[in-house]
Symmetry: C2
Subunit: 693 residues, 2 copies
C-alpha cells in the first residue's frame, strides 16, 4: 500500500468549517489547539456569522478563502456536511477531517448521509478522515499540526499512535506525555469511512521519524488489507498493539459504541500472524513503546542487572524470569574487576548489587563491565537516588552507556522527580527509558526481547503437497452446493480427506446387509457402522450408530435392524473401529476476510475442561505447525512423557499443514473438525470428522 496522507499529517493550510466563538465547542477548541501548538501554516476559520476568532480572520465560506486550503475540518451538524464536502471539492481541498458525529453509528439515516458525502468526496478526489473522530496531530517542529480537539500537547518524539477509539488514543498520548516522552504523530479516525487504519499504519511505516507504532483497534473493516500492511510494516519497525472486547461483555460494549463488529477473538491471532506485538494492558504497551523509542533491540534474552538497592532487584528478577529472560552469572574476569572497584558492601553477582552508597565511579565501572561482558544482551538498572550520593554524576554515567546504544538499557528510576529535576533531565537527555517500578521496567525490556524473538523467528515454508487431488474435492463440494447441503455426509468427508492424503481409519460404503458384510470383511474387525441418509442428523439418537461390531453375524443383525428402524433407503458407512489411541483434535474455522483459524489440541478433557488448545491463521507453514504442537501445555505428552514413547510429531505437523492447504484451496469450507484423530505408536488416524460449508 502506498497511501499519500501528507494532506492529513503535513497540511500546508487548515480551514475549520463550523468555527465557533463558544469556548466550550469543538469549533473553538480546534482553533485554540492549532494556535497553542504553534501550527506553522495559515488557519482559516469558516463561519458566516462571525468576523474574527482568537485574532484570526473568519471567512463566511470555504469558497471565500483567498488562498489554497489543503486540509479542512468539518464540525457542523450532519445534514449540512455533504454540501460542505461539495464546497471543499470546488475549493480544491485535498483532505477533510469530519469531526461531527451522527452518521453510520446512528443507523440508516446517518449511513445515507455518510454515503452522500463519500460520493461527493470521491468525485473531487478528496480523502475523508472520520466522521465521528478526533483528527490528526503531527509534532514535527517544522509542522506542528494539531488538527484535533484533544487536550494533550505532546513534545516531539519517535512514537506514532493510531487508535480506533479516541478515548483510548487520548489516554495513550497522555501517558507518553506524563512520562515526559514525546510523540511523533497521532490519528484517531472514528468511523473510518475512507482513510483506513491500514493506510495510516502504512504511512507511519514510511515515516522516517517514527521508530515505533502504537495501535489500538477493536474491529477491522478489511482484515485482509490490514494483514498485508501489518506484515510489511512490522518487518521494518515494531507495531505495538492492543485490542479489547475479549470477554463477551466487553465485546458487547464494543459493538454498541462502534458501527462494526468486534472480532477480538481473532484479533490476537491476526497480531501474531503479522508480527505485531500484542499487549493486553494499555500501560504495559506504553512502557514498551518507550523502550522501543529509545533503545536498540537486544540480540538475545540474557540480562545483566545492576542495582543500588536490594528489594527492587528481587522483584525485577521475578518479572524477568517469568517473561522467559535469562540472568546468567558474571564471568570470573568481571568479578575480579568488580571486586577491586566496588565497596565492601557490594554483592558481586548478577544481580550486581553495588549498594546505596555507590557513587559515579562505582556505577561507571559496573556499567562498563556489564556492557563488555559477552554473556549479556541487555542491561537492567535499578537506580534509587540516595540523598547521600551525587546522583547527577551517576545519571551521567548511565546516560553515557545508554547513548552508546550497544545494548538496550532500561532503568527502574526510583526518585521524587520534583526534587531530582537535574538528575531526571540527564537521564532523559541520554534517552534512558525510566520506569517507576521494577516490574514495569522489566516488562518493557521483555517486550524488546519479544520483538527480537518475532523478528528472528523463521517464517517457515507453506507446503503445497503436489500429491493432493484438488479436482475430486471440487466435484464433491460442487455437488453438495448444488443440493444446497451445508453439512457434508461421511462419504464426502472421508473422500475429501483421502484426496488430501490425510490419514484416516479405513472405511467402505454399503447399501444392503449383504454388501455390508462383504465390506466389513474387507476392512477387518472390529468395525463401526453408521446409518447414512440425508434425513438423519443425529445418528446416535435414533439408533443409527453401532460400535465395536466384531463379526459377520453382528454386521448382518445390526444393518438389518437399522434398515427396519430407519428405512430401507439408508446406506451404511462402515469404518474400522479403533480404540485406545491418544486423542488429538485439529479444527478449522473460516473468518471473514482473514482466512481460516486452525486449532490444535489433545482431545477429551484437555480441550473440553482445560481449554489447552493452540490457534493460528491459515496458511500454516511447517514452522507454524510445529509451534501449534509445541504451544499447548500438554505438549510433553506428545513429545513423550516420563519414559512413555511420544507421538509422531512429523505426521501431526504434516496433517495440520494438509488441513491448512485444504481450507486455503477451498475457502468455502466454513468449519472442519477432525475430532478425534488417534495417535497409535508411530501413526495417526482420523476416526471422526465433520465438515460444514
Amino acid at each position: 500500500m502506498d497511501s499519500n496522507l501528507d494532506a492529513l499529517f503535513k497540511p500546508r493550510s487548515v480551514a475549520l468549517i463550523g468555527a465557533s466563538a463558544k469556548e466550550l465547542s469543538i469549533g473553538n477548541v480546534i482553533i485554540k489547539n492549532l494556535l497553542h501548538y504553534q501550527y506553522k501554516g495559515p488557519i482559516y476559520p469558516i463561519n458566516p456569522k462571525i468576523d474574527e476568532l482568537r485574532g484570526l480572520k473568519v471567512y463566511p465560506s470555504i469558497l471565500d478563502v483567498p488562498a489554497e486550503v489543503e486540509l479542512a475540518h468539518i464540525v457542523i451538524p450532519p445534514p449540512f456536511v455533504p454540501q460542505e464536502v461539495e464546497n471543499c471539492g470546488k475549493k480544491g481541498v485535498k483532505a477533510i477531517i469530519i469531526n461531527t458525529a451522527g452518521f453510520k453509528e446512528m443507523g440508516a439515516a446517518g449511513q445515507a448521509l455518510e454515503d452522500d458525502f463519500l460520493r461527493r468526496a470521491k468525485k473531487y478526489g478528496i480523502r475523508i478522515f472520520g466522521p465521528n473522530c478526533q483528527g490528526t496531530i503531527n509534532s514535527d517542529p517544522e509542522i506542528r499540526a494539531y488538527c484535533d480537539f484533544t487536550f494533550t500537547y505532546p513534545e516531539p518524539g519517535y512514537i506514532s499512535i493510531v487508535a480506533q477509539s479516541g478515548g483510548v488514543g487520548a489516554v495513550i498520548m497522555q501517558a507518553f506525555h506524563d512520562m515526559s516522552i514525546g510523540m511523533r504523530m497521532y490519528a484517531s479516525n472514528g468511523n473510518g469511512s475512507d482513510v483506513s487504519i491500514p493506510e495510516i499504519i502504512s504511512y507511519y511505516g514510511n515515516d522516517e521519524g517514527t521508530r515505533a507504532i502504537v495501535l489500538y483497534v477493536e474491529s477491522l473493516d478489511n482484515p485482509e488489507e490490514f494483514m498485508e500492511v501489518a506484515k510489511e510494516v512490522s518487518a521494518k519497525k515494531p507495531i505495538l498493539a492492543m485490542t479489547a472486547g475479549r470477554t463477551d461483555k466487553g465485546a458487547e460494549a464494543s459493538r454498541s459504541h462502534i458501527g462494526g463488529l468486534a472480532g477480538s477473538i481473532s484479533m490476537d491471532l491476526i497480531f501474531k500472524k503479522t508480527g505485531i506485538l500484542s499487549f493486553d494492558n494499555q500501560e504495559e504497551l506504553c512502557h514498551a513503546a518507550v523502550a522501543f523509542a529509545y533503545q536498540p533491540i537486544p540480540k538475545g534474552r540474557r540480562v545483566g542487572i545492576l542495582t543500588n538497592t536490594g528489594g527492587p532487584s528481587v522483584i525485577a528478577i521475578d518479572e524477568l524470569v517469568n517473561n522467559g529472560l535469562d540472568i546468567p552469572q558474571l564471568s570470573d574476569h568481571a568479578k575480579e574487576i568488580l571486586k577491586e572497584s566496588m565497596f565492601e558492601s557490594a554483592s558481586i553477582h548478577n544481580p550486581l548489587d553495588i549498594a546505596a552508597t555507590a557513587g559515579a565511579p562505582q556505577f561507571k565501572s559496573a556499567l562498563d563491565t556489564l556492557l563488555k561482558e559477552d554473556q549479556y544482551d541487555s542491561l537492567y538498572l535499578n537506580f534509587v537516588t540516595p540523598p547521600f550520593v551525587d546522583c547527577e554524576s551517576v545519571a551521567h554515567e548511565i546516560a553515557e552507556v545508554s547513548k552508546k546504544k550497544l545494548k538496550p538499557v532500561v532503568c527502574n528510576y526510583m526518585t521524587d522527580k520534583e526534587n531530582y529535576k537535574p538528575t531526571t533531565a540527564i537521564l532523559k537527555e541520554g534517552e534512558v527509558p525510566c520506569f517507576d517500578f521494577a516490574e514495569t521496567a522489566a516488562k518493557a525490556l521483555s517486550a524488546l526481547v519479544r520483538y527480537q524473538d518475532i523478528r528472528s523467528q523463521k517464517k517457515g515454508k507453506t507446503e503445497l503437497f503436489s500429491d493432493v487431488d484438488k479436482d475430486s474435492v471440487r466435484k464433491i463440494l460442487d455437488g453438495a452446493k448444488q443440493e444446497k447441503r451445508e453439512v457434508l455426509n461421511a462419504f464426502e468427508v472421508y473422500s475429501i480427506l483421502a484426496a488430501y492424503q490425510i490419514p484416516h481409519a479405513k472405511w467402505e460404503l454399503a447399501s444392503s446387509s449383504t454388501e455390508a458384510v462383504i465390506k466389513a470383511n474387507k476392512i477387518g474387525y472390529p468395525v463401526v457402522i453408521k446409518a447414512d441418509a440425508e434425513h438423519i442428523i443425529h445418528k446416535s439418537d435414533v439408533g443409527g450408530v453401532a460400535i465395536n461390531i466384531e463379526n459377520e453375524n453382528e454386521v448382518r443383525k445390526t444393518t438389518e435392524k437399522m434398515h427396519s428402524l430407519l428405512g430401507n433407503d439408508v446406506n451404511f458407512f462402515i469404518q474400522q473401529f479403533l480404540t485406545s489411541g491418544k486423542e488429538l483434535i485439529i479444527g478449522a474455522k473460516a473468518e471473514q476476510g482473514v482466512g481460516h483459524i486452525i486449532m490444535f489440541g489433545l482431545g477429551g478433557i484437555f480441550v473440553e475442561l482445560l481449554k489447552d488448545v493452540s490457534f493460528s491463521i491459515s496458511p500454516i507453514s511447517d514452522v507454524e505447525a510445529m509451534k501449534l504442537i509445541n504451544e499447548i501445555k500438554a505438549a510433553p505428552l506428545i513429545h513423550g512423557y516420563r519414559g512413555e514413547k511420544g507421538m509422531n510429531k512429523q505426521k501431526i505437523k504434516e496433517c495440520i499443514q494438509r488441513i491448512s492447504l485444504l481450507v486455503s484451496d477451498f475457502p468455502e469450507i466454513k468449519e472442519l473438525d477432525l475430532n478425534p484423530l488417534f495417535a497409535f505408536g508411530d501413526e495417526i488416524w482420523v476416526v471422526d470428522a465433520r465438515m460444514i460449508l
Copy 2:
C-alpha cells in the same frame, strides 16, 4: 500483641548521634529531613567536632543534651554503636533507630556487634529499630516526624507502609506521592533485630488514622507471631501485601541481600491464611491502597459503569469480568429515567455511555440513577475531559457521589492534570480514587471486592475427630525416633493411617512365605508384595516389589524369590492390589514456624505435568478443605464431568481434615504423601503413602 511504639512514631524529641556537616551523608540528610518536614519537637544533633548544623546547636554527646531525648538515631560506624546505645540508656532514651549498616548482614563479626548492642538496649529497656535501616515517618500534622533519610515528603493521608526492603518502601511511598495521595506512617526496619514487622503491623492496626496497611516482606523471622498479628489486624482493616523471590533466581537474590531466608513459596499461603490481600505487582498494590483509603467496601460484585467515552469502557469490562465482577443490566425503571435525561447519542445500557458531549446535568442524573439502582454494589467511572464540556461541574457531581460513601466509586480519570488542575483538585477533595488507565481503575475496584470476599468468607470449623488414636501414633513415632530413623516403614505408615481413620487398601505383614500365603488369602487377590527391611531403600530397584499377584502359588514363588534375593531377614508387606481408580494426591510438608503446608490435587499428569494442585496451611477447616478441592482446574472431574459420576467429595474433604489433624497433633512429621489415593465409586483408598520425620 500490644506494642507501644509511640517513641518511634510519635517521638517528643529526636537526637542524631553522628550528625554531619557533609551534605551528602546520612548524618546530615536526617537533620535536613526533620527540618524540611517541620518536625514539631526539638532536634538534637550529636557530634563532638562541630557546634552548629543547619542552624541547630550540636552537642558533643547524647549525655550533654540538657533535656529529655525520646528517640535517637545512630549513624556512626558499627564498632562505636554498642557504646552509644549504652550512653542512650544512661540518658533515658526510649527508642533508637540504628541506620548504620554492617551488622548481621555482613557475617559473624557484625552479628557479634548486633548481639552486643541488643544486650545493652535490653538492660535499659530501649527498643531498637534496625540496624541497616531507613527509619520511620509520621505525617500526622501534630507530629511530622521524618526520622528517615529518604527523599519523598508525603502529605498526610490514610495509608501506612511497612517494608522489609527500604528500596521497595521508598518506591511505594513515592507512588502514593506521585498520585497526590497522602501517607500516614512509614517504617522500614532493615535487619529487624528488635522491633519486628508484626509489631509494626499491630501498631498500625491500633492507629485510628490508618485506614489501610501496605506491607512488603521477603522473609519472616517469626512466622507464628506474624500470622497471629496479621489475622487479628486484617479482620479490622485491610492489609495489602506483596512478597518477592517467587522464582528461584529471585529467591537467590533476596537471600543475598537480606540476612534471612527467603520463604516466598509459603508467603503467599501465609497471606491467604491470615486474610491479607496479596499482590504480585507494586503498582497494583498501590492503586488498590488508594481505593481502600478513600472508599467503602462494596457489599458485592455487581458494578454499574458510567462512561463518557467508548473504548476505555470496553477495556474496563474485560478487566472487571476477568476479575470475576458482574456487570448486570440497568432496570427498566432506570432506563426510562435515563432516556429522558440523556442526549440522543447516549447508549442506555450498562455500561452507560453518555458520550463525550455529556455535561454536569447528564452526569448527575446518571450517577444518581446508578447509585439508587439496587443491582449495583459499586460504581466504575470513565471520565475523559472533553475540551468542549465544563469539566469542573462534572467533577463536582462525581465528588458529591463519592463523598456520600454509599457505594464505592473508582474513576479512570483521563486528562492532562497540568491543564485541568481545578477539575483534578475537585476530584481529590471528594476523595475520588482516580487512575490513568481503565485497567488500573478496574483492578483497584476488584481489590475492594476481593477484600469483601475474604471478610465475608466463612472460616469454617477445624474438626478434632474424637475417633483418632493419638497414643498409638505417639508410640510409633517415638519408636522410630529412638531408632533414629527418619523414613517410616510401611507398617508404621499404615498403622498411623489406621489410627487416624484414613481409608487405605487392606494390608498385612508376614515374615515367611507360608505366613504370606495365609495373609494374602485373608486380604483377597490380587495383592502387591513389598519387601520390608531397613536396609532396602529403593525397593523396586532391587526386585523388592511385585504387583498384581493373583494366587497362592504366585505369592509363594514371589516371597521365596525375595528371600533368596534380599536375605531371609526381610519381611513382607502384603497389600490389596487396587487398579483403575481415579488418582488423587494429598501431601503435607512442615514449614518452620508456620505449621504444615497441605497440598491437594489429582494424580498423574495433573500434578506432574499440569501442576494443577492447591495449597493451604494447617490446621485446615472444613471450609478450607472444600476450597482446596474446588480450587484445582480439574475440579469438574471430581464433581462429575459430562455425565460421569463424580467422586465422594465429603470423604475427600474428611481425609484432608484428618491429615491436617494428624500433622497438627504430630508436628514432627516433616513430610507426608498420600500418592496416590484411589477414588472408586463412592469410596477413596490410600494405596501408597510415605512419611518422613
